[in-house]
Amino acid sequence: MLRFILRRLLQMVLAFFGTTLIVYALMFAGQGDPIQALAGERPVTAAQRAYLTEKFHLDATGVGGFFYRYFDYLKNLLQGDLGQSLTGRQIGDILAAAWPVTVKLALIAMAVTIVFGVTAGVIAGIRRAGIFDNATLVLTLLVLGIPTIVLAPLAQYLLGVRWQLFPPTAGADPDLYALLLPGIVLGSLSLATALRLTRTSVAENLRADYVRTARSKGLVKRRIVGVHVLRNSLIPVVTFLGVELGNLMSGAIITEGVFNIPGVGFNLFRGIRTEDGPLVVGIVSVLVVVYLVSNLVVDVLYAVLDPRIRYE
């Protein structure tokens, strides 16, 4: 197990450099004129242009220029310096301010997904084709069919503005209650998927041989479902949740925008819009790490859930 984790960690280093190279190259290739993008439609003075060009080596173009800037970036990165955004803020500071609130939001969404999605999935799986199962089927299809870009403003308008049950926006330093509505909205999509997955998996495992054996041994139903079925049914769900955690962390660009939460997605969106290369690459570099780690955790969890899976 230890060797497996070690090997994966080494692979992660390679994957990390590979992805940053690709992201950096994409940002580099797609970059039009970041100085003009920063100024919007105003004319940029020659002095301002010269200042930014020199500061960010924007005059280094072509393949040679690309590698020059990439290695410059890597060198700073390895020293723990993510660099400065085009507006002159330390990207490290931006991320330090953005992460906590995004992590909080992602955890709430995750909790909503697990508590409601997995529980409802188990119940629907046990009572297959019952009223509950059919009702959740309709509901989840509905949720899956509505994109966040509709769901988030709708929830905000109805629950925040019209009935005033929740604050309509969360802001920079929100309490748990203010984050609840965005968290539910964000989690609802993965909730629906998790519910469907759990339901199918549970329904299938209920017909498995080992369940029949357990039943014939005279085990109580709670133990059969709670220990035997659930544990085996969770493997696909955990895979899904692992990937989903990465997605949630990468910031819900729409949800964070609608509820005015200055998290990672909020900053990523701004970086892309203003062609702020250093900011985008900085955020994506950290996101790559998040994805890699959450995938590793998922792989390790497999072994915990299913003793037959062993890593050498």
Partner: protein, 534 residues
């Protein structure tokens, strides 16, 4: 025709007032008693910078307007009057003497002196500092020596201290409206504490700027979250009517709008377009509109043969129904434009393009064919700014009214469009927008249409026009300058290098907890007038 259009002009505001009055009974804005101890919450976007000479967008300048008091401000007729300055005078429009009012102090207790201004302006003009607004100082003598990578000088020769409260500004060329310029953000002073060494801005100054205005920072700039300011008791000028302001940072105006609806935010400066149709019902008389300085035009590459005839250009202008597009595409969030300058500047006249601004398809078509206009017209625009709808609508009108082929061509970004235009590639007509830097007609005419103007992308050159602008700059009084500029504008109306289409409009709203919310001509909420309601 003329009468009908004039009627439409007066009918529009009337209809707006009626509509708002009808909804007004539901809202209770502006009736309660004022509460001087309360703070108000105003929406902004994350400022790019909070240093006066580096701030050129509205969010940053909104915050700075609380922290600093300008040398001059503007009255109802958009004429400048002194605020922090005792007087700004000149006998020849070249050497200007600025006398400061006594008693102003920075928020750290430091006295405001002539040096506070001289140091700040020198810092702003010095090219290696990379300040966004450095071009505001280009009219001051010695500016060129501060440019380039290795400038010859560190200070402007045109700035001289006379005594503690007086300094002179020598311009490299006479400019009659220099006093008007001084109301802009770039001309605020900086305290000694802002510099760690002469000409070097102290690290972290921007996080908690020290100004000499009616409010001072409360804590420091919390990025992506808020900037809070509180009343500065030692401020000698006009006192604000609230105890403080929280500038709350939003990335999307829809979020701010939801907060205003539920009284979680007091002022939203730009109501999102998708909410405009319901804003009247949602907010009642708390939904307000005012003229903004921006102007949208369609520009001609006059260097291209097919657009070199002014008659062709006028015919195209006459074939566009501005009122219809403003109403159906923009839901009246902008106003139709028929002049080359915005209503927010002194000297603005309605309807200076005359007949070319009247929608008359039959006449337009006859004129177009007589002048031999091209059979195919292309309209270029930047695809990232939401321009597709009105460009397509304009194209359809040209197709129907002139019987020509018309296509809209999107460039990814405005910069890409400008690159092509500058390289004189045939892009057809292209869209342009202009927001003023200071409220003067000159700012709408000089950069855009003078032969060597910084944003003259159309190759327009008229010696007579250049001469009138130069005469305006040397005119002995502001009124006489305005006359010259108006004459210059009349020349533009004859030549039509661009078609004025629409003026911008501020569509703002406020919660039930504030009143007297007004927008100034730089699109900022007037912080000295706003009041909190008990």
């Amino acid at each position: 025709m003329r009468v009908r259009r004039l009627a439409a002009w007066t009918a529009l505001p009337l209809a707006a007032t009626l509509g708002l009055a009808a909804c007004g009974s539901g809202g209770d804005g502006g009736s309660g008693e004022s509460d001087p101890n309360a703070a108000v919450r105003i929406e902004i976007a994350e400022p790019q910078h909070l240093v006066p000479t580096n701030t050129n967008e509205t969010s940053g300048s909104q915050v700075l307007s609380a922290l600093f008091s300008p040398l001059v401000d503007y009255d109802e007729a958009n004429r400048p009057h002194e605020v922090a300055a005792e007087s700004v005078t000149s006998s020849d429009n070249t050497v200007w003497t600025v006398k400061l009012k006594d008693g102003y102090t920075f928020h750290n207790g430091e006295k405001v002196t002539a040096e506070s201004y001289i140091d700040a302006w020198n810092y702003g003009a010095y090219a290696p500092n990379g300040q966004n607004s450095s071009y505001f100082f280009e009219k001051i003598a010695g500016y060129d020596d501060l440019q380039g990578e290795q400038p010859k000088a560190k200070t402007l020769t045109g700035l001289k201290k006379v005594d503690d409260l007086t300094f002179t500004v020598t311009l490299s060329q006479p400019y009659s409206e220099f006093r008007t310029m001084l109301g802009y953000t770039a001309f605020y002073p900086l305290p000694k504490a802002a510099f760690s060494a002469p000409g070097v801005l102290a690290e972290g100054y921007e996080q908690a700027p020290i100004g000499q205005g009616a409010f001072r920072m409360k804590g420091s700039w919390q990025h992506d979250a808020k900037v809070e300011v509180e009343k500065y008791d030692a401020f000698p000028g006009q006192q604000p009517k609230v105890a403080g302001v929280e500038f709350r940072i939003y990335q999307q105006p829809t979020a701010a709008y939801a907060d205003v609806l539920s009284d979680n935010l007091d002022v939203i400066k730009t109501i999102p377009t998708e909410n405009l149709s319901t804003a009247g019902t949602d907010l009642g008389d708390r939904f307000q509109q005012s003229s903004a300085s921006s102007l949208q035009v369609l520009a001609f590459p006059t260097f291209q043969k097919e657009f070199s005839n002014p008659e062709v250009r006028k015919a195209i202008s006459m074939a566009i129904d501005r009122d219809e597009i403003t109403r159906s595409i923009f839901k009246d969030s902008q106003q139709p434009a028929r002049s080359f300058v915005s209503p927010v500047v002194a000297g603005y006249r309605e309807d200076t393009i005359g007949a070319a601004g009247e929608f008359d398809p039959a006449k337009a078509k006859a004129m177009y064919e007589a002048a031999g206009g091209p059979k195919k017209i292309e309209l270029s625009y930047n695809g990232d700014g939401g321009h597709k709808d009105w460009i397509d609508a304009t194209c359809n009108q040209l197709k129907a009214n002139l019987g020509v082929e018309c296509v809209g061509t999107a460039e990814p970004k405005f910069a890409d469009l400008l690159t092509k235009v500058t390289a004189k590639q045939p892009v057809g007509l292209f869209r342009m927008g202009w927001v003023m830097d200071y409220p003067s007609m000159e700012n709408y005419l000089g950069p855009l249409y003078s032969s060597n103007g910084s944003s003259n992308y159309y190759g327009y050159s008229n010696p007579e026009f250049d001469k009138l602008l130069a005469e305006g700059a040397t005119a002995p009084t502001e009124d006489e300058a305005v006359k010259k500029y108006q004459a210059a504008e009349d020349l533009l109306a004859e030549d039509m290098p661009v078609i004025p289409l629409r003026y911008g409009q501020n569509n703002f709203g406020h919660s039930t907890k504030v009143k007297n919310v007004e927008m100034d001509l730089f699109d900022r909420i007037d912080l000295l007038k706003i009041e909190a309601v008990k």
